[in-house]
């Protein structure tokens, strides 16, 4: 870490990831180097002479008396070309570089810059000498992957007239432009992770983040710049849902934080993403992705930091005018890291041992999302989707409850559904989206004026089915009135054809909004024919067993589904006509 070395101190006590130093001149959240191996740590408490430090690496072997020095800087990340396609640990050390430096296992005391310092990038100026620039102004660009990396005046530089600016091949630390007051501008900027990057204004979101997942886009959409939570017990499909979002959501940049999760799952992401193609650009998905992997057995303090590292990188791309989506899997692990550190500080615990500031930290984090007008007047967004892992699947626990108070979309995962292999196992009765009204216009315009009506109809059928199921549980389905037997069948179609989606099927894994509309319309088509036939006196057993609808699930797995769907609907109409004529 560059910066001026301040006065040195000495270690006094070591107990796990939290250590105490004395004789150190330090402020809260200063980054310090601990011990002779210079392990990275951060000041989290000042208590008289004693400075309490959380250490981002394993502390085994540290002894009282070893030196501690203060860098005088806050925990910050490197921002600039080289971020995309990277895989970082919680404190922005590239894992690939760490493998080169220390082999397959993570040892300690190794530092590595977040973005390569020696790599040259082709800088293309978009401003010229004499132009007036302000913080956030885009002065040039670099073709980083298939994504253009826009080079901005850092938010903490005052701005002014450009004295010189020149295109060419530069490393991220070389000067690319100078202001009249002599300030030199480089492609790289650093930003402290615990401080939100400034924006001009926050706006209300009006465009959905299209994810290709039917239950999300169709029933419970999230807006670009919105927030969503996915709570669920283990095994209910949180990680698969998060990964589907990372793969298919129509954001331009994706930041995926694996916070305290499984190593093998991160490997799966690392192996799969480079092979997957962006449905829009046809380029590997990895080119728009930044991964942060801090697995459950990596140091707990770095887990606490990983969420901030991720959101800061997301904000940086937002400032360029991109739509960014950030997935955090799982925020419960993050909260537990806070709890662990807090209990080692012997702080008075709040609910279930979590620190009293849990709610505040969660709120601060989610509040860094949003659709904004950036400092330079562009529009950009950060959507945040946080997984929550409630102990025992109990949604009344503090992390879930405090999260629900903030987020606007709730996708409730349900172990019962996953047990019967209904995937994605999102419960359609408990979930909600508060963006429905603000997004209705978009659906009217971009999908069909009928869509919002179809959506409400489907929700009604599902709600009705839940009520009817209670009766069926008591008296059996044959005792229901005829019309309601049909409702049960229509609801079954909505569940099995529309809601169930196979993430592992090459076609079904992504479903466009048009296809979603066509599918729902087909189900509605069946429902209309069925109710009409029932009124005309056709017995419900015949209506329920018509053959043509059995082919509907095949639509999901078919790429050019339109002729097939037409065929099914025609066959269905023919069958109904026949039923009615013989009734």
């Amino acid at each position: 870490m560059e910066g001026q070395q301040k006065t040195g101190g000495m270690l006094k006590r070591i107990a796990g990831p939290v250590v105490t130093a004395v004789g150190l001149d330090a402020h809260m959240y200063d980054v310090v180097k601990v011990g002779t191996e210079e392990l990275m740590g951060e000041v989290i408490k000042v208590d008289g002479e004693a400075i309490i430090i959380q250490v981002y690496e394993d502390t085994t072997g540290l002894r009282p008396g070893e030196p501690v020095s203060n860098t005088g800087l806050s925990l910050a990340v490197d921002l600039g070309p080289g971020l995309l396609t990277s895989i970082y640990d919680g404190i922005q050390r590239p894992l690939e570089v760490l493998v080169e430096k220390m082999g397959s296992f993570i040892e300690r005391g190794v530092s590595a810059p977040g973005i390569p310092r020696d790599k040259k990038w082709e800088f293309k100026p978009l401003a010229k000498a004499g132009d007036e620039v302000v913080p956030g102004s885009i002065i040039g660009e670099v073709q980083e992957t298939n994504i253009v990396h826009r080079i901005m005046v850092p938010p903490n530089v005052k701005g002014g007239k450009l004295k010189s600016i020149e295109g060419g091949s530069y490393t991220v630390e070389e000067t690319i432009a100078t202001l009249e007051d002599g300030t030199e501008l480089r492609m790289m900027q650093r930003w402290p992770v615990r401080v939100p990057r400034p924006v001009r204004e926050k706006k209300n979101p009006t465009i959905p983040l299209i994810t290709g997942q039917r239950i999300l886009d169709g029933l419970f959409p999230i807006a670009k710049g919105g927030t969503a939570a996915i709570p669920g017990p283990f095994g209910s499909g949180k990680t698969v849902t998060q990964q589907q979002l990372a793969k298919w959501s129509d954001a331009e940049i994706v930041v995926y934080i694996g916070c305290g999760e499984r190593g093998n799952e991160m490997t799966e992401v690392l192996t799969e993403f480079p092979e997957l193609q962006d449905p829009k650009s046809g380029k590997p998905l990895m080119e728009r992705t930044i991964l942060i992997a801090n697995t459950s057995n990596m140091p707990v303090a770095a887990r606490e930091a990983s969420v901030y590292t991720g959101i800061t990188i997301a904000e940086y791309f937002r400032d360029m005018g991109y739509d960014v989506s950030l997935m955090a899997d799982s925020t419960s692990r993050w909260a537990e890291a806070m709890r662990e550190i807090s209990s080692r500080l012997e702080e008075m615990p709040g609910e279930e041992g979590y620190p009293a500031y849990l709610a505040a930290r969660l709120a601060e984090f989610y509040e860094r999302s949003g659709l904004v007008t950036t400092l330079n007047g562009d529009s950009g967004s950060v959507s945040v989707i946080g997984a929550v892992s409630p102990p025992g699947g109990d949604f009344s626990e503090p992390v879930t409850q405090n999260t629900l108070r903030i987020v606007k979309v709730f996708w409730a995962l349900d172990a019962k559904l996953s047990q019967r292999r209904h995937f994605p196992s999102i419960n359609w009765l408990n979930s909600y989206s508060l963006y429905l009204d603000s997004l209705a216009d978009w659906y009217d315009r971009e999908v069909s004026p009928e869509w919002n009506i179809l959506r409400s109809w489907a929700m009604e059928v599902l709600q009705k089915e839940a009520e009817l199921q209670e009766i069926v549980q008591l008296v059996g389905s044959d005792a229901l009135p005829e019309a309601e037997q049909i409702t049960i069948e229509v609801a079954r179609l909505i569940r099995e054809v529309f809601l169930q989606q196979n993430a592992y099927d090459p076609v079904d894994t992504f479903c466009s909004m048009t296809k979603q509309y066509d599918m729902m319309k087909a189900i509605r088509g069946y429902a209309d024919l069925a109710y009409a036939a029932q009124v005309a006196g056709v017995p419900p057993t015949q209506i329920i067993t018509i053959k043509a609808k059995n082919d509907l699930p095949q639509i999901k797995f078919t790429k050019d589904y339109e002729p097939m769907l037409d065929g099914i609907m025609k066959a269905m109409e023919a069958e109904f006509t026949q039923l009615r004529s013989s009734a």
Binding site: P64, S104, F105, I106, G353, L474, D478, Q554
Partner: protein, 459 residues
């Protein structure tokens, strides 16, 4: 090495030592009693005035006159190829009457985290010969798949059957079993040992035994010794290692005991707040590494207190491991072995290890369909209890019968019955699915039905 006689306090498994030179966090400590015997411990908290040491053996006989030596290094495990076939105590000392182990290497037992970037992707299907695992909750090399059980259920038999039958079809690579017993009874230990000897598995096994009457704190290091050995066999000698850890519930109890002795702020049900991190440091030591030959596959066994899957031990475990195999009391009562309830069971890595080229192209969809049909049949049982079988529709009756068939034929199998995946497990699945009307098989595409469904196969 300086010996201190400055113990100021002894509380449960902890001793507090005063006025020492600077002592490293996590160091190994040797303690000498007045009768000359020695005990081992580890530094939990160090400052210039006071050092807290957790003693791995009983603190009986320890007093303020005991001598304490700090070794200046972390706890290390001597490892070598000749460990195969040996039985060691929970602290790593031979207890089979054989000679001391001549180490080829001494390795820190904490085990560094594998860099996620260096991990190899688990992809090799392990055939256990048990249909409910192979067919619907497939185990893959490098996975950690625990068995969630409860008191009085035959989880040990299931674990042994897996250890006996596990193989990667068509592969001839070297394999080994590392077994760590924590707080298990002598009787259970004997059962394991006899089975290992009967099948000749002991030659390829390293056994660590911390019995129920051994010191509880020793259980903290037993799994770490076992995993250090496993990693050595896997990543340095290139073997495929299956690690069985039983019973993790006893391990967690020991963790709680130490937390209480340190007067820490307890988390849920008195377990320490860092139990997730601590368990992760054990379970995450499974996997493969790019460019190295071997693999570590873990099958931890835990007994759920009060059969409660939301208890902190199974709960935190489930959030770390890649799925779980749930042993059910209800199936056991019905006399079905292995009593594995597939509904709450899950293998997260299943999709990496199955499909054409690995098992068979229809595997995933057959599994999904079996699940869906069994779940539906199982739900109907509740309904039948209220309204009677006659009130069910024709369709519902076939599903109800399917659930019984599934338990009776797919779940149930012999303790030595080793079913091959294709002809054994998947075809059996198809036979059962054939009892349902074809149009109810909505999870399977037409092509596969035409290829594998018995109705078409016969033609």
């Amino acid at each position: 090495m300086k010996e201190y006689r400055t113990i100021s306090k002894i509380a449960g498994p902890l001793i507090f030592v005063q006025k020492t030179e600077p002592i490293g966090y996590g160091e190994l400590v040797n303690i000498t009693l007045s009768d000359g015997s020695t005990k081992r411990g580890q530094v939990l908290d160090t400052s210039d005035e006071l050092v807290v040491v957790q003693v791995f053996e009983s603190t009986a006989g320890l007093g303020r006159d005991s001598g304490v030596r700090f070794t200046g290094e972390a706890i290390k495990m001597p490892v070598g190829k000749e460990m195969l076939g040996r039985i060691l105590s929970g602290g790593g000392k031979p207890i089979d009457g054989g000679p001391e182990i001549v180490p080829e290497k001494r390795i820190d037992i904490t085990g560094a985290a594998i860099n996620p970037f260096a991990r190899g992707m688990p992809a090799d299907f392990i055939q256990t010969g048990i249909s409910t695992i192979d067919g619907t909750n497939t185990l893959v090399r490098g996975q950690k798949l625990p068995i969630f059980s409860a008191a009085g259920l035959p989880h040990n038999n299931v674990a042994l059957q897996i250890a006996r039958q596990a193989k990667v079809p068509g592969s001839v690579e070297e394999f080994a079993v590392v077994f760590a017993g924590m707080g298990i009874t002598k009787e259970e230990a004997n059962a394991f040992m006899q089975d290992f000897e009967r099948t000749g598995a002991l030659e390829r096994a390293v056994v660590f035994l911390n019995l129920a009457d051994d010191p509880a704190v020793e259980r903290i290091i037993t799994p770490r010794l076992a995993l250090t050995t496993a990693e050595y066999l896997a990543f340095e000698l290139g073997m495929h290692v299956l690690v069985i850890l039983t019973d993790m519930t006893n391990y967690c109890e020991a963790l709680r005991q130490i937390g209480a002795a340190r007067e820490e702020v307890p988390g849920r049900r008195g377990y320490p707040g860092y139990m997730y991190t601590d368990l992760a440091s054990i379970y995450e030591r499974a996997g493969m590494i790019k460019g190295r030959k071997g693999s570590v596959t873990q099958i931890p066994i835990l007994t759920m207190p009060g059969d409660d899957i939301t208890h902190p031990i199974p709960d935190l475990t489930g959030y770390i491991t890649e799925g779980q195999i749930v042993v059910s009391r209800e199936l056991h009562r019905k006399g079905i072995y292995p009593p594995i309830n597939v509904l709450p069971s899950l293998s997260r890595l299943m999709n990496l290890g199955i499909g054409s080229g690995k098992t068979r192209e229809d595997h995933k969809k057959v599994s999904d369909q079996l699940y869906a049909a069994y779940a539906e049949g199982n739900d109907l049982r509740g309904l039948v209890a209220i309204v009677g079988k006659d009130a069910l529709s024709e369709r519902d009756r076939t599903f109800l019968e399917f659930a019984d068939l599934f338990e009776g034929r797919f779940v149930r199998q012999g303790i030595d019955e080793d079913r091959a995946i294709g002809e054994g497990t998947l075809d059996l699945g198809w036979d059962l699915l054939a009892t349902l009307p074809i149009e109810q098989l909505s999870r399977i595409d037409r092509e596969l039905i035409e290829k594998y469904h018995p109705k078409f196969r016969a033609k």
